[in-house]
Symmetry: D3
């Protein structure tokens, strides 16, 4: 069973809208090696896991899988913010955007010359479950052979490829909003790569100097270096509300990446970052409330909620 808090797993830096960067980031969300894929792959591996004797491996996969849901939330929001307001931002007068199409205005014509026209036409300047060339995410991406060593080996390769692509993404844009999320995911992919590499060590592999794969030297990227200095590549959170995870039996000892750090699974979750709601975009008819609807909404908002807080007893 899953729970949610209204916080992001990491802070998203502020910068100007950038639809091209938004589209590139789609690969990290809905691409073959993006966050939707890691999330789904680890959830299915957890669901179908076999071997009561090897619970620590399941807990490791389950914990990383839970984190990936938050990564979907993080990168999806980043894409949404990179798109948000881009028609107005690109030099359009505010009036036509406020009065969409009035007298024949073309407030959305930016969409014709963008990475994915669906960002404006199908969605309302928001993230889509597709990759950077518009292919929808597919269930055929999920790998779950049921053989423990193979699944771990695949997961290692998956995290390594995800990190490689994110390093390339970093090189494609200098938008700070995009880079803050890219850099965070590079470091967390590294942590997950360490987790699967360490698990394979417990099953016999010796990596010697091979890790990390690939050797992108991402510490050359300033935002990445700042996170590595905090040791985020060597931590794994449990995201487990009742502390039953045994992932720490695996995720401990010297990092297989040979960077001199020690793996640490002692924390439940990182401190979250505040979550806000995006503004109205009238040219997208989103959320599209006219005066009548606004009156109805106001009436709803004014209602007294049942005193539900008192009942939140178990966890809060």
């Amino acid at each position: 069973m899953y729970f949610h808090v209204q916080e992001f797993i990491n802070e998203i830096a502020e910068d100007e809208p950038d639809p091209a960067a938004a589209n590139a980031l789609q690969e990290g969300l809905g691409g073959q090696f993006g966050e939707m894929r890691t999330m789904m792959q680890y959830l299915f591996q957890s669901i179908n896991f076999r071997g009561p004797d090897v619970k620590p491996y399941k807990d490791l996969i389950q914990g990383i899988g839970t984190e990936e849901i938050s990564h979907v939330e993080l990168i999806g929001t980043t894409i949404s913010r990179l798109l948000d307001g881009s028609p107005q931002y690109q030099g359009k007068k505010s009036d036509p955007v406020d009065k969409p199409g009035a007298a024949g205005a073309v407030p959305l014509n930016i969409a014709l010359d963008t990475g994915n026209i669906h960002h404006y036409l199908v969605g309302a300047q928001g993230a889509l479950p597709v990759d950077a060339v518009g292919n929808p995410w597919s269930g055929s991406y999920v790998y779950n052979s049921g053989n423990l060593v193979l699944d771990l080996l695949y997961n290692l390769m998956l995290e390594s490829t995800g990190r490689l692509q994110k390093c390339r993404l970093y090189e494609m844009t200098d938008n700070k909003m995009a880079r803050s999320t890219i850099s965070y995911l590079i470091v967390r992919d590294q942590a997950h790569e360490n987790a699967y590499a360490r698990a394979l060590e417990t099953l016999g592999v010796e990596w010697r100097t091979t890790l990390p794969i690939p050797k992108t030297n991402a510490e050359r990227f300033p935002e990445v270096k700042a996170l590595i200095d905090l040791g985020l590549q060597s931590k794994q959170y449990s995201f487990d509300l009742t502390a039953q995870s045994e992932a720490g039996k695996i995720f401990q000892g010297a990092s297989p990446s040979g960077d001199g750090t020690t793996l640490d699974a002692s924390e439940q979750a990182p401190a979250g970052a505040p979550m806000t709601i995006s503004p109205e975009r009238r040219e997208e008819f989103s959320p599209g409330a006219d005066k009548e609807l606004q009156a109805l909404i106001a009436a709803t908002a004014a209602m007294e909620m049942a005193d539900i807080d008192a009942t939140f007893g178990r966890l809060s």
Copy 2:
């Protein structure tokens, strides 16, 4: 940010393996109107949500979306259990299964005459991210127009269709394991249908006698009736760890289904059911640990975990 507890959202009844039922249930997991779809649709709608003034609607969608992740876990596990051990169960002697292929044995030949051979060939008697005819789940299923009324209308239709299909699934099998999950999801789909119907009421629609859509009279199904008697069709949990959800401003008052109940959003989550790990299946080489691996695993299991429990301070 998301968290997990090692419990199922509902108990799965015990019964014998049943691969045909397992395959039918795949529609409820990876089908166009299954749980992966509702989960992803609501997550994207939450991520891309617009309108700071309409937060209760976002919170409603977010809360249901979080529940859907637990539904994926529930139905995925149900499929896995329906498949688990089916080769042996179907009259095969235990020896060939314990010694896969030895001397030319064919312990997996059940797979040639089953709904989806991938259950045995690609997975290891486990759930797959596909529908009941083997089509992989697709990101193109996700609907998120950004217009609030349209998104709510779509969500209502989605839950109604999901419930219709589950009623048909109920009519296809009398396996108790399958039916316990089907029945639970019928009732929860009804709750979500009520949630979106109620939200549309706050925005102006009057349903009169139209709901529920469709009128399947699922209370004719005994397992469904038991859950309706508990009022589960009129509750919506928040799954929100820090009680910030305002969904209760919408999910309250008389049920739009006209069944005489009152909508109740006062609970955080249902009591969970215990989670266990599936046994080894040697004919699938899953998890596939030989003696050497078992020795290595035992060494890992014997390690003392760092005393991480004390650090679980914020939520537990």
Copy 3:
């Protein structure tokens, strides 16, 4: 602009339900060489047609394309009838079907052992836009190079392949309902093959003894022979309401198939067969009207329609 009459293009014979035959027929509806494909291909070729000097070729393609819409209607209805009532027919007592799922009955369990479970689970014992292995129809099937000779050559190959597959379908089932439609489409595919072959003759090709391709000798099939005796393989209707089609400039002279007949484009359309509406299927909740709905429907039905008939002036 298109019009409809409430008649089928050919009569569908009566026989018992046969879900296996229904599923095989899906190839002829939604398969790569089925009727949805010919329909869409010819519609796109008509829309994108170039060359004011070659209007007869456009008219030929447009006329065949219009006929294909009626073929979609015919084969779709045939599939629907082959499925209709199959759960009850296969030895189930009528009660559980009339009271779906009551007391735990399993009226739809036939669906678990059928060609495509979606026929019962996603649809309500009706046709689907998929092929015989469940692949959805795809726009990537449509061929429209814009080069006239190539498009005609492709169309010839397409009709020939469609006819080959339908001859194989004939060999797969002896259900009379299925065979009446299969046989009609074999003969009409032959007519279309003649049309494209004749068009290529006007552009220089001499077929000599090559046609028909392939030589399936379908006159061995009694139902086919009956239609060939009527000359249906050598007629092409215009389906053109205002007689502007010039297709007859091409579709005339000796048949390129060398069967001694003369091609004839003089008729607008065949006589139609009566159209009826399928009965309710309660186990599918289709159409699903309960008493309240039935009362509302009855009220609608009792309304006097505006006297619209008088206004149907132009064409009737």
Copy 4:
């Protein structure tokens, strides 16, 4: 059975070629909420319709479905015209285009920098059965649950989403050719939305102020306003050649959109607009007739057609 007249359902305004607008319009043709989808969805719903007592609902769906075929023809032709001649138009000298590739000329290099290179490479400056990011149309889009209320609810949502996307399309381009078709489809989508909303009213729903969904206030678009002033949003044609449609039993009374109009189903079809054939494009080898072919074609054109007009007795 279907028929055709060589007229468009609406006139297409004249303007200059505009490949970017053409590509955006592909969403309205081959997109998930475009005309191919509505057409196929309503055709399948008509074919699989259940309930002899509810024939007016079938007739309503059948009539709209027939109209959608004409919409496919209209928007497909609009795309074709927007593409037609664009290489020459964009400042290329006429000679290289007339003599494609002669001496190494690059008359099609515009294709490298356009929305969908397939418009020039796979097609010959014509419409494709794909959406605006190049995804082929898929049969998986079609929804037909068999439950009447659900199908109507889905259809309402489908028309509303189609209209929303077309309003966004209007905001993306000011090309008059594109806008004439976009505007016509906005108003017709509104009519269909009214049809399904009205049908749901007869089944119990009261929309009060909710309609239209969404409230795009498209009358701000001048071309749309002109059509609304004519009342086109409140008419539904039967497209039924023999006046058997009972759709008027539903489509009558005050418009559910609350615009003060009365729904009117008394007309068979609108007056059509003349249809012409696109010119040759030599750089596409389309239609590609050289001198020898032209001589053969001329010989065909000179043939006397059989006197087929006299035989067009039933309808003309």
Copy 5:
């Protein structure tokens, strides 16, 4: 540049037709981890290879990739033979099969109850480029990151998964024809796994007891044991006509699987097995030559070929 000899890379044992086994084998041909995938992945990795200093790695991948084309030929032919004649074999009288459909016979009705009806309906009892549930092979399967270590790691995982699936296939059928090819591919996958594991050893990884992954102990399968006894799991052929391959610089030394063998890259290719052509199948109209065609073919066959053998100077 590629060449062909009219020989199979391994002999296919004789046994009776078995369409269920044929369909299972499709996973090994067109599945996500089948031979079409390995073939295409290694061809693309060879084409896009970077690093003049690391030519031995390219040569290793190229050599295995060339072998995979022969594997496609081998498993495709095995499937074709498993299907060939199955309608007649399953107890059908020979007459209806020889005279397809005559007097209404149903010689192909086996197709309605088989793994993939396309084997009889779209193909003519032959192999298809799809997996065992009918999904077409997809270019999205191909992995080629460009990073050498990652590509090798992926290839290792790919071969290991292919071998795992083939071990499961072995357990599904005891048809000797199927098993001869399955067993050969198990052993060759093992050889390729050794090749990529050895390549990773040269780049720093120490596998210790981990290999093979997974530990299926396939030597329990008698046909596999026979090939292992010949050492086929430790050989890699170059398939390089002019002996320029440097793969032997990598594929040498003790096998990383720890079976006591030494890797050997000294042979160009194995001895081939004779290739024959499948017989006519009249019920499939394949090849479909009637008397007239046969006469034409005989005339062609009687022609004297130009004396081309003398010109085969370079290689033979």
Copy 6:
């Protein structure tokens, strides 16, 4: 069984990087009518071929199919070279590319404004198995009906369409590297078109003036004319190592294209062009060897290979 030589089937001219041309060429590689398709179609037709009496037709298809593998290699390499170094070439300073991302540099930002971002993000400036709009190659493209005449007719249409698209590609770019491969493939497609047309002649068709289809008059393209002057459109190589091909029984006599040449099947293969390995691209981390890896690689390279050349006895 297949073999390889380390040579290209034709020389690739030198020119500057051109990512737009590279992307257009993807249609010729992974498009529906590209080289991957012809290769796979002919391989499957060879594998499934029926009719011992018609071996020359099989040999013809097999020989062309083998050539197509070399075409995949040729066009794939051409795309790779067109992409190679493009970030640096487009005016980027060399330093940031040599030190990817150092201090926040954006060496790959060209990728955001290119035909397919995957060329830089998923691949490492290399070819992909997709078409020019990014659709992955699909097994559903392969046509193999089993009927000889139909398969030959389809193959003729396939080669003709491939040639048509390549003529359009020629008109899209004047990059010499792109055009050298485009022109070669135009002429080879013509040869294959002649082969299938000639085969159909032996089965009864008389083409008269129809061929080539379409009449693109590609000799207007200077690079094409040079190859036609060499007669390459009228040669077919066997690519058969042991001279067992009987394709020459068909591919002889006057060319069906009516260009006055005589078909010639006497050569085994063309002279090949030298093959080189692409340089490192540090901004792609490809191949990604750091100092430690380079030392390990150097150690491997220094090893003495076993004296394998002497063993290459059969063919060299």
